[in-house]
């Protein structure tokens, strides 16, 4: 094989498996990072497809922001590789990367007005004034803030600052836009509006968005792909539907949406014991007998108490608009949350009805990453062993 001079940093083909065949714009391999004693990233690998909306989701301290800052070039990884369109990214300083960032608290330059803020990157690249003006106007139109050119930064509302921060980034026509909890500083209503707009913007611009958030609802609403992180490890990678419907462990189940997590025992395939009852399910047997059973509150129906159902007493009933949310203390001593359009009176005895495919079985050890076997729904883990010889 003939290699071009200086092409040794170029990775000619992907080292990560992908069934869809869409090109990967970014690939990360075994990234680690510590701050002093604290290990923030413990060797994570994943790829980002071209033009997708990818969200890094997790509680604070999970390493999601650090991952984003490594991509942006503001943090150096201790070890690992990142390639961007097949080329090593980590050797490039931030100002040479074809990525732009929308910062957590906007980081707009307070001494410049709106126009000069948005034009900043173009000015640095010494583009002709005429072109700059056109591009800035176009960017402002994209974020719906035409006519704000001469405003000072401190005359803007939070939502407007947010839009300017986005305009300032996209005006440079980056291939990837990095967004670090960009809606964190906005109020709830504004956040909801911006979610829809951001998704729309990503489609219209046709570029890749990498989005960091701790808000699972935000992630579910906007993303094509979600990477759930915890304690420096990736817990699960998948589409919002995958992650919601098939959480790979109890942490993911609990973090994404409301969940009832009940200890169970599994002695054979497709049968689990909860609260002393044997119930049919669809999962195969796990290596260990003790498992966590996850059942979504909206998958449970209220019915008359009977012998073959788990039964309990209704503790509280709250009307939530579309449904009632009930807390039920089961005979086995667990608290179940049920969301249903049917209402049961507080204090009454009810039975909990759910089907075999509503029961999700999680190995307890799935909290640790070592349990990520080849059957994982994840599309990333095999990366490391996946090997070089793919060509």
């Amino acid at each position: 094989m003939i290699r071009k001079k200086g092409a040794d940093t170029a990775v000619t083909s992907s080292r990560l498996h992908d069934a869809t065949g869409t090109p990967h714009i970014i690939e990360c391999l075994n990234l680690t990072k510590s701050f002093g004693e604290t290990e923030v990233l413990k060797g994570i690998s994943f790829y980002i497809r071209n033009n997708e909306f990818l969200t890094l989701l997790g509680p604070s301290g999970c390493g999601k922001t650090t991952t984003l800052r490594i991509l942006g070039g503001f943090e150096e990884a201790d070890a690992g590789e990142v390639s961007f369109e097949g080329r090593n990214l980590l050797d490039l300083p931030p100002y040479k990367r074809q990525l732009n960032t929308v910062f957590q608290r906007f980081a707009l330059f307070p001494f410049l007005n709106v126009f000069d803020n948005v034009a900043f990157g173009l000015n640095i690249k010494k583009r002709p004034a005429k072109e700059i003006e056109q591009l800035v106007r176009k960017a402002l139109r994209t974020v719906d803030l035409e006519g704000y050119e001469t405003r000072e930064i401190d005359q803007l509302s939070g939502g407007q600052m947010q839009r300017i921060a986005i305009a300032r980034a996209i005006v440079n026509q980056p291939k990837v836009l990095l967004l670090d909890e960009p809606l964190g500083a906005l109020d709830l209503k504004m956040r909801k509006e911006m979610q829809v707009e951001l998704k729309q913007m990503q489609r219209d611009l046709g570029i890749t968005f990498v989005y960091v958030t701790h808000d699972q609802e935000e992630a579910l609403t906007m993303s094509d792909t979600i990477i759930v992180m915890k304690n420096g490890y990736i817990q699960q990678v998948g589409t919002p539907a995958d992650i919601y419907n098939e959480p790979r462990n109890a942490f993911v189940a609990d973090f994404i949406g409301e969940s009832n997590i009940i200890p169970g025992k599994m002695l054979q395939d497709r049968e689990v014991e909860i609260e002393g009852r044997l119930l049919p399910c669809v999962d195969p047997r796990k290596p260990e007998d003790q498992v966590d059973v996850v059942i979504r509150p909206e998958d449970i129906d209220i019915s008359e108490p009977s012998e073959d159902l788990i039964c309990g007493t209704v503790e509280s009933v709250v009307f939530k608009g579309v449904h009632y949310e009930m807390l039920i203390e089961s005979d086995g001593g667990f608290e179940w949350m049920v969301q249903s359009t049917d209402k049961a009176a507080a204090g009454s005895r009810v039975g909990l009805r759910f089907g075999p495919d509503d029961i999700h079985i999680m190995a307890k050890s799935d909290f640790s990453p070592d349990a990520a076997g080849p059957d994982s729904i994840s599309r990333a883990y095999e990366a490391a062993e996946g090997g070089e010889g793919d060509e």
Partner: protein, 268 residues
Amino acid sequence: MKRKLNLLYLILVYVFLYAPIVVLIVFSFNASKSRTAWGGFTLDWYVKLFHNSEILDALKTTLIIACSSALISTAFAVLSCIGIYALPGRQRRLVMSITNIPNITPDLVTGIALMLLFFFINMPFGFVTLLLAHTAFNVPYAILSIMPKLRQMDIHLYEAAQDLGCTPGQAIRKVIIPEIKPGILTALILTFTLSIDDFVISYFTAGNEVTTLALTIYSMARKSVNPQINALSTLLFVSVLILLVIVNLRTSRQFSRRRKTATPGALV
């Protein structure tokens, strides 16, 4: 009643502070050379002042030293502050407490210590030692004026600049420096003032070749002060007053529009 008493008290304090200044200014127009007896109005001292090469030379030295040490120490302080700010916490605190040493060392000891330094390395006393000494005592003050502004800055601004294509140098020039500009202005005014006003450190580090205004006044004060000095001080005082009023008006107008911070001139 109480308010009037308060006002009276303040007036007395200000009379105390301004009495000698008024005397100075009034007696710069005194036809008699006496420092107490009024001998009629004259502008003689102002005319003579501009022919007195001793005073004019001292003024020139003072201004050159003050301008250059203010510029050098502020520029140096800006870069140093950014460097110190990027240091990890414990090192930063150590550097800042060493920076505070000249602040808590009496001027007298600072002057002597610098004199001994130049003496020890056999550097001839003169303009260079004077400039070095002034810059040496100005740098910590400049750093202490700029550092708080830098600490107030959102550190993501620097990253945002790099993200948008700035090299580290460009990011400093185009983002950090505009952002800490009020601190830089304070540092310039403060160091300039300290340098012009300094007597003690100049006294020990100037040698016999060069002399500043303060040194000239000191050597005169032991005998009798030439009223030309009064005339010169009046001119300087009035021009500084006008300058500061303009700076204050302009900055306070700018700042009240942008954000509510103290005007830099008001600090000095």
